[in-house]
Symmetry: C2
Subunit: 357 residues, 2 copies
């Protein structure tokens, strides 16, 4: 029998408060092998204690023992701290988790606006290669960073986007009348987000590589949009957007913008996907201002949905769907944390979701 061993990297701040919710839901959901969990260290707080943000042991354990992982959140000092480098960025690269998939969906029958889009963000390169230099010149210091876009990474993220577009269209098809009532018109679509009017070589390569993949998916409509005007459209007509494929940094920015459309960053899940490993991760940050309250008021939904997304990408589609439905029903019933206008604690929301499972 398959086993499911999940690395649990809580990280900083509310990461600690919301990851237990994901664990409880994974323990309770029917239809998957009984999971076991291993707590692993990473984060800025861990760095402050030990001088290491991402211990080698964490990576080694993920690689040798774990089927998948959940990551909580990480605090980002905005000033340069000698020796510190974001452990989540490092982890994505170390584990070659090349796609960051971020579905942003409103809850049917609850939210006024129909939003049902998935941001497929390249997760290993762009400015995140973190190759930076600085030099003194007679006019003052000049810093430079390298933005890398490769054919290989663009092709594989493109393929991921087309697969997701097909799956998303199928789900919408099942929702049928409901989806079309909200203006959904039909087939799967991928929108390539780029800025090749300025970055003709790097974003030109991204665009061209994704378009080349498109040939393998004749049933998927392909269009494209310059990143600045995509952000404009995101807020003017989000209903019309479906699967977006983005270089790393645009994906980072666009997904936070999209999260604003559904009411709270505390709702939006993501999954980091590689060819042989999957790691769920809420899109929100460590929210130090509300971390570790007693009782905790951190919204556990992004974390719970990220666990579901992790299962979905491991092939456990039915169990994932059960979790999504349970979460939606909690939201519809108003059983939510203060960020959404509710009065429940982290644990109480999780209790409601568990009951609905």
């Amino acid at each position: 029998a398959k086993t499911l061993r999940i690395g649990m990297i809580a990280g900083d701040g509310i990461g600690r408060n919301v990851l237990p919710a994901a664990q409880r839901v994974l323990e309770a959901v029917p239809g998957i092998p009984k999971p076991t969990f291993v707590a692993l260290d990473a984060g800025f707080e861990h760095f402050q204690k030990t001088g290491t943000a991402l211990p080698k042991e964490t990576v080694d354990t993920l690689k040798s023992e774990c089927t998948a992982a959940m990551f909580g959140a990480v605090s980002s000092p905005s000033h340069k701290v000698a020796g510190y480098s974001s452990p989540i960025v490092a982890l994505r690269k170390e584990m070659d988790l090349y796609a960051n998939v971020r579905p942003v969906k409103s809850v049917e029958g609850h939210d006024p606006r129909m939003v049902d889009m998935t941001i497929v963000r390249e997760n290993t390169e762009c400015l995140y290669v973190k190759q930076e230099t600085i030099e003194d010149t007679p006019q003052g210091r000049v810093a430079r960073a390298t933005r890398q876009i490769s054919e290989r990474a663009s092709t594989r993220i493109g393929r991921m986007a087309f697969e997701i577009a097909l799956a998303a269209a199928q789900v919408k098809q099942q929702r049928g009348a409901a989806a079309s009532a909200y203006g959904w018109t039909g087939g799967p679509t991928v929108t390539i987000v780029h800025k090749s009017n300025v970055l003709s070589v790097t974003d030109g390569l991204f665009r061209e590589s994704v378009r080349k993949v498109a040939a393998e998916y004749p049933n998927v409509e392909v269009n494209e949009q310059i990143v600045d005007s995509l952000v404009y459209r995101l807020f003017r007509e989000p209903e019309k957007l479906s699967t977006l494929v983005c270089p790393n940094l645009y994906g980072d920015i666009v997904s936070d913008g999209a999260a604003a459309l559904v009411g709270s960053l505390g709702l939006v899940p993501s999954v980091n996907v590689g060819d042989s490993f999957i790691m769920g991760e809420p899109v929100h940050g460590s929210a130090p201002d509300i971390a570790d309250r007693v009782p905790s008021i951190a919204n556990p939904i992004a974390s719970i949905r990220s666990a579901a997304l992790m299962l979905e990408f491991m092939g456990y589609v039915e169990p994932a769907a059960k979790i999504y439905d349970a979460v939606d029903s909690a939201i519809r019933a108003g059983h939510v944390t203060p960020d959404l206008g509710g009065k429940l604690s982290t644990d109480e929301v999780t209790d409601v979701v568990l009951k609905a499972l």
Copy 2:
């Protein structure tokens, strides 16, 4: 007596349709020297005809004859066109117009939401230095772009932002009750937008340089926000944002997002500012789908407001204020183009504004 000679670079698409509106308003507004105008070429269409996107003559005439300029819009082919490079990006650098100032304001007594922010965008570097390379490797092609952030450019854009924050606070002070009814709490504020949690060297230098300027402005509150969460806040609580200072690309993206908050890109003006030259420019693009209709339906407001902004930055504060007020009254009366739900043409809206002057 001072003279005012304005270079008029219509560019592509609706640039041609909206720039005449700016000209008519500049001819009519009291309180400025009688302006003369010189039409100058640039754009993708000009490139297609002549092989040159930004003729040397245009730059020479601006430098030798003109006090200021207005730029319309430029079409951006998203695929690489051999020999073509965006003339607006080139012009900003050629004329050393190092600040792109983009006020995004809702109309009092008309828009449901109070938005009153100004994006101060660095206009000469970041990824816009356009240093890109591409190489063949055994794993496929790899492209690289350089992102440059200098102390000099960051310092001067920082200074511009603090000056603008002071001026903006004064205007709000004059509006007094109205502003505070909308939640405005007081003093001038500058928010530094960056991503130094990932780009600790380049965005670190940007952040540090602006903070150093802050010491010269003890009365201005300084805070900062990571660009992704800034875009989130932009849509969750735009009322709380005031003057934002951004590296070039973040400024590009954030200002399109902000434009979505006030109903249409067709409303948002900008001005490109250097130490010795000013160029007004609507934030919208060339909108080829609606260009050159008869009668034209392109919204002239962004262009008219850009002319006012140009005057404001030349020191003609009163005439600029007159134009802003005339535009606001046209909007309040619903005398607008179809993008805002109105029925008027470009010329008819301009007529209304002229009458209100």
